[in-house]
């Protein structure tokens, strides 16, 4: 439990740090940090209960997509401002590094193993965003329709 809290704080800090590097507006730093931490929490919960990187990455990015949209509507800023920093804790940087390291040392088998992981995680992240976008559009249409019914 202590470890989880420590990790959450670290994810929050890391997200904010990346936000500073890519120069997001100051008032959106906190929101993107929160989005990042929640998404990582979803990823982590999936990972400890079911195992496997791919599903966790997919659900994590789905969370980023949906929460990013909510934050964007609240703060009236583009979604990308919240999505970009929040994605950083889910990026398969460790695996990508292992690919290069094993290639440099001549362990082609291990390099292939990690390369496959990187490809699958990148695909899962993209799919997660896509599903989130779909979800957002459906939700938007639904809300619009509800508004129409109410005004009638």
């Amino acid at each position: 439990m202590m470890k989880l809290i420590l990790n959450l704080i670290c994810v929050y800090l890391g997200t904010i740090g990346f936000g500073i590097i890519v120069n997001v507006p100051k008032r959106s730093l906190n929101a993107s940090g929160i989005v990042g931490s929640l998404a990582w929490l979803v990823y982590y919960l999936y990972f400890i209960s079911f195992g496997g990187y791919v599903g966790g990455s997919l659900l994590g990015t789905f969370t980023i997509g949906v929460l990013g949209m909510v934050a964007a509507h609240r703060e009236k800023m583009p979604v990308i401002i919240f999505n970009t920093p929040a994605l950083v804790p889910l990026v398969p940087g460790g695996q990508a590094y292992q690919v290069m390291r094993n290639l440099a040392q001549g362990n082609n088998e291990m390099a292939k193993f990690y390369l496959l992981q990187v490809v699958f995680i990148a695909g899962a992240i993209a799919a997660g965003f896509l599903i989130a976008e779909l979800f957002n559009q459906l939700l938007y249409k639904f809300i619009k329709r509800m508004g129409k019914i109410k005004s009638n």
Binding site: P78, I80, I81, V88, G93
Partner: protein
Amino acid sequence: MKDISERDQLVIETCLLAGKIMIENGSEMSRVTDTIDRISKNAHVEQARSYVTLTGIIMSAGPKVGSQVIAIERRGFDLEKISVVNDYSRKYGAGLITLHQFYNRLKHINEHVKTFPFWMQVFGAALVSGPLEIVFRGNLIDFWITCLIGIVGYIAYYAIDKYLNVQFISEFIAALLIGIFSILSVWFNLGTNIDDIIIGSIMPLVPGVPITNAVRDVLSGNLVSGPARGIEALMSACALGIGVAVAIKLL
């Protein structure tokens, strides 16, 4: 008649400039197309057509006005500028600013947008490297040295990028320095695990976001810009990887 075509010309210029700023600072393609369409619609240029790619935008506004091209040579990340362009577009749509004001503000966007000071960016690099090392690897002992080497790598990247206009070389040298310093730090007993330190401190430079943007562009049907961005991201990933690999081989 001349008045109308002059105004249309200004609309095109404004759209192109807005699109250029957005692509230069890391926006995805669908958002750029969306913004351009919205501006021209709000300006009542009904026949406006645009063709947006990662390296240039072409736009025309009907048969009477000449179409214009703008080239995009450099791409980086500055999300505040995207947000500001978005803001102006909204204001223009709501009728709060005129087209001339819109265009002038876009032209002087560098004076209006505040970037974080350099020490703050360095602090951000430290925040990305150290904490993410803990998240990925759970190695508490190497936290401080990872922060430090992350800072070194980011400063090297920033300094070289300023004087040399080839992004891949600055990434390569930064990764090389990160690798060398990580190995040295373990030799001198400042750190315990080379892998953990390198993974953490390379995080500020990793092109994870461009790769995801590339896949998103492809999935949304942008078959020209998506692969182009993918190549760009792959090149920087290779530059980083080769830098680290050379450091491991050398020492």
